[in-house]
């Protein structure tokens, strides 16, 4: 059980990282600033991708029945996520290496942008569905069909919320990345503020819909830790907005990261101990102990190798401010 909790925290952490990067990459809805965005994503975008793969493989190694049930019940939105990922990833690379004439460049950008909208929305649908208590697994068989959960208003609200959150975070990041170009920075500041402010009503709607759409989660949100977490999240959110407003962009970035972290941790706590509410929990969907132990050591060793390496990558590239030409 303890093992399972540790695993959950680890995969949740990776999830969080994956989310962060994804949203970073979903920036190109800001139409004019492509060069800056491309520059910001370029060196690290391969690594972003891998978070997702890591989450998936750890998921199916540690919780095979949970993985099987999720992928069967959410076949349709997951396929949508997948298509979004493929289009987004390849459009980004192709644009990088094929950025010679403007028409082609614009077409890739349009595809990249569209897929960047689509993917987090579909991911939000899936998360909403997992929380909805509508996916039923009885005697190891999925009994709720292929449309349970993700077609509900609550899941749609989750999708929109994910979209808004990612947009907000990406724009906030970019205000820091464009420090050397004040006019671009202003653009991103406006975008971050807009996204941040519009996030509030979406969050409220999601919360209200959760009462019927995700009763288990809603009930959890009234336990002792909930006000604390909601408080911290709100402080972070307001801090980020104030930071943006007063042009303390580094502060704003830190606060936005804190905000997203709190939201994900809160979601994790509210969902705990369930994997797929209400039938699959971390315990009953976990695999055999021998594999969990091996996986745990693998995760520890992997983390010991990866974090320094990732740190080095950042150190090398974020050490010096951008001085590369804006496009190929």
């Amino acid at each position: 059980m303890l093992v399972a909790v540790v695993l959950y925290a680890l995969s949740g952490g990776a999830d969080y990282g994956g989310g962060m990067w994804d949203l970073l990459a979903s920036g190109p809805r800001a139409l004019r600033q492509r060069a800056a965005i491309e520059h910001a994503i370029g060196p690290i975008w391969e690594a972003n991708h891998v978070w997702l793969v890591l989450v998936i493989v750890v998921f199916f190694t540690a919780f095979p029945p949970g993985f099987a049930a999720t992928m069967t019940a959410l076949h349709i939105p997951m396929t949508a996520v997948l298509i979004g990922i493929v289009l987004r990833g390849s459009a980004f690379v192709f644009r990088r290496y094929d950025a010679r004439d403007d028409a082609v460049h614009r077409r890739w950008s349009a595809l990249f942008g569209a897929a960047s909208f689509f993917t987090p929305f579909a991911l939000g649908l899936c998360l909403g569905a997992l929380a909805s208590s509508e996916i039923r697994v009885i005697d190891g068989r999925l009994s709720s069909g292929f449309f349970a959960g993700w077609t509900r208003p609550f899941a749609v609200a989750c999708g929109l919320f994910a979209l808004g959150l990612f947009a907000f975070l990406a724009a906030t990041y970019l205000t820091v990345d464009t420090e050397s170009e004040p006019d671009l920075q202003d653009d991103f500041r406006t975008r971050a503020l807009t996204a941040g402010v519009s996030l509030a009503p979406i969050a409220a709607i999601t919360f209200v819909l959760a009462r019927n759409g995700a009763p288990t989660i809603f009930a959890k949100l009234t336990s002792w830790w909930a006000p604390v977490l909601v408080g911290v999240t709100s402080v972070c959110a307001i801090g980020a907005l104030v930071g943006l407003w007063s042009r303390r962009f580094r502060w704003a970035r830190a606060a936005a990261v804190g905000q997203v972290a709190c939201i994900l941790v809160g979601w994790g706590l509210a969902q705990y101990p369930y994997l797929v509410i209400p039938d699959l929990t971390l315990t009953n969907a976990a695999t055999v102990p021998s594999t969990l132990t091996a996986l745990q050591s693998a995760l520890a060793v992997g983390a010991a190798v990866l974090f320094p390496a990732f740190g080095y990558l950042f150190y090398v590239f974020k050490r010096r401010p951008a001085s590369l030409p804006p496009s190929d």
Partner: protein
């Protein structure tokens, strides 16, 4: 076609697409690390230019490989939830390890690509080595999973429940060493040959190009060394298959009747109903010799296997012959090149050899595709050999024709774009590279 057929087709298509990038993603970092090592030793700018160009190519291929790999990790669950539920706990571990190896590769490739003028030269080269090593490790882990599907070990089934699961024993199953080595050598041989073929093509157009001559030297060296080793490892693997998966071996060789001193059948049209292979070339004793290293040894035919456990004989047999044929052609060209190389003591650039290289260049990739068809189709109808049938593991989701069509369209589109892009990279490389190799090196701009 049934939903199962669509699911299998979609998986096959995704794997066939991914394997090209995976294989080249294993081979290219080696080539670029060799080029950079030669640069560090000789300080000849042409090697640096080469390492940079190859690194750009690697970046495109790696990116597509990463995307197509992500697709596969999703499809395992989307299409084969039964398999994942059963096997995830036993064989998920190497997948997770592969995730880490892949992550390491991505990080260090980032450092390599963007670090040319930001970190010390030796560190930069070491980053390249890490990319190459983690690429190899990824392949080791993934092939271990496939080997387990062929030779499932490391668990027991008691009353239909899994017990005594030992993920390490599952990883180190009997098929692992042979399959892993065969795949790694395949990646090196195929990458070496395909890159050699491309540079041979440009060398035929511009005989004076130092850039393409040096490139040809490195790529051909890797390809020509890997090919004979690969054929030897194939022999070891085939004997392993003969012992553990008689149905697969029988289908590979279109061998219907169990007998001693079995002949080898090359080509022909296997006919399951008549249990005979028409129009094939039959070489007496050769199959017994190859499978057991004894010309009189008995070899089990398909007649010893229940009819509903036969793989598709035609596909497996033809794919096997295609793979071996491609390997033999590569071996012949490798031998020719090696002979000239020794005699002349320089990179051989004989016109006919270059032409042969252009033709043989893609055969390594053809052999890889064919080889995967042999091992995958040859394992059917099982997804886990002798334990779980493919039909039992497919998703209950109806209408799989829709995702299949969608992904087929996407892959077609991606392939077209990719070929177009790579072609443009090479063509644009050509004159500029020659100029750069001669003139002062331009390090201010990199992709």
């Amino acid at each position: 076609m049934t939903d199962l057929d669509f699911a299998r087709s979609q998986m096959a298509l995704s794997l066939a697409f991914h394997i090209v990038f995976a294989a080249v993603g294993i081979g290219m970092p080696l080539l670029m690390a060799v080029a950079e090592a030669l640069y560090l030793r000789s300080r000849e700018p042409v090697y640096l230019d080469l390492a940079r160009r190859w690194a750009s190519g690697t970046a495109i291929l790696f990116a597509v490989g990463a995307v197509s790999g992500t697709v596969l990790s999703f499809e395992l669950g989307l299409l084969w939830p039964g398999f994942m539920q059963y096997a995830g706990g036993i064989i998920g571990l190497p997948f997770s390890l592969e995730g880490f190896a892949f992550f390491t590769e991505a990080i260090f490739l980032g450092i390599y690509l963007y670090g040319w003028d930001r970190i010390p030269a030796v560190l930069h080269w070491l980053a390249g080595i890490v990319v190459a090593a983690s690429g190899v490790l990824s392949a080791v882990f993934v092939v271990m999973v496939n080997a387990w599907m062929n030779a499932p070990t490391g668990f027991e089934v008691v009353d239909g429940r899994l017990t005594n699961v030992d993920p390490i024993a599952a990883m180190l199953n009997p098929a692992s060493p042979g399959q892993v080595i065969h795949m790694l050598l395949a990646a090196f041989a195929a990458t070496g040959f395909v890159v050699a073929g491309v540079h041979a093509f440009f060398l035929l157009r511009d005989r004076a190009s130092a850039f393409h001559r040096h490139a040809l030297g490195i790529a051909l060296g890797v390809g020509a060394l890997a090919t004979p080793l690969q054929i030897a490892s194939g022999d070891v693997l085939a004997r392993m298959v003969a012992q553990r998966q008689p149905a697969k071996l029988a289908a590979m060789e279109a061998h219907y009747h169990t007998r001693a001193a079995a002949p080898l059948t090359i080509g022909g049209i296997p006919d399951d109903a008549a249990m005979t292979t028409r129009y094939g070339l039959h070489i007496p004793w050769a199959l017994s010799l190859l499978a057991w290293h004894d010309p009189s040894a008995p070899v089990r035919g398909l007649d010893s296997i229940p009819r509903d456990e036969w793989p598709n004989t035609r596909i497996v047999h033809w794919a096997f012959d295609l793979m071996v044929g491609a390997g033999v052609a590569m071996l012949a060209v490798a031998g020719w090149a090696g002979w000239l190389w020794r005699r002349w003591r320089r990179v051989p650039d004989e016109r006919w050899l270059l032409r042969a290289l252009v033709i043989v260049g893609p055969l390594g990739l053809v052999a890889i595709e064919a080889g995967w068809v042999v091992t995958e189709v040859g394992r059917q109808p099982w997804i886990i050999y002798g334990v779980m049938r493919t039909a039992e593991s497919v998703t209950p989701m109806p209408g799989l024709a829709v995702p299949f069509t969608t992904f087929t369209a996407i892959y077609l589109f991606l392939s077209v774009v990719l070929v177009y892009l790579l072609r443009r990279q090479f063509i644009e490389t050509d004159p500029r590279a020659v100029r750069r190799a001669r003139g002062p090196l331009d390090v201010s701009r990199d992709d």
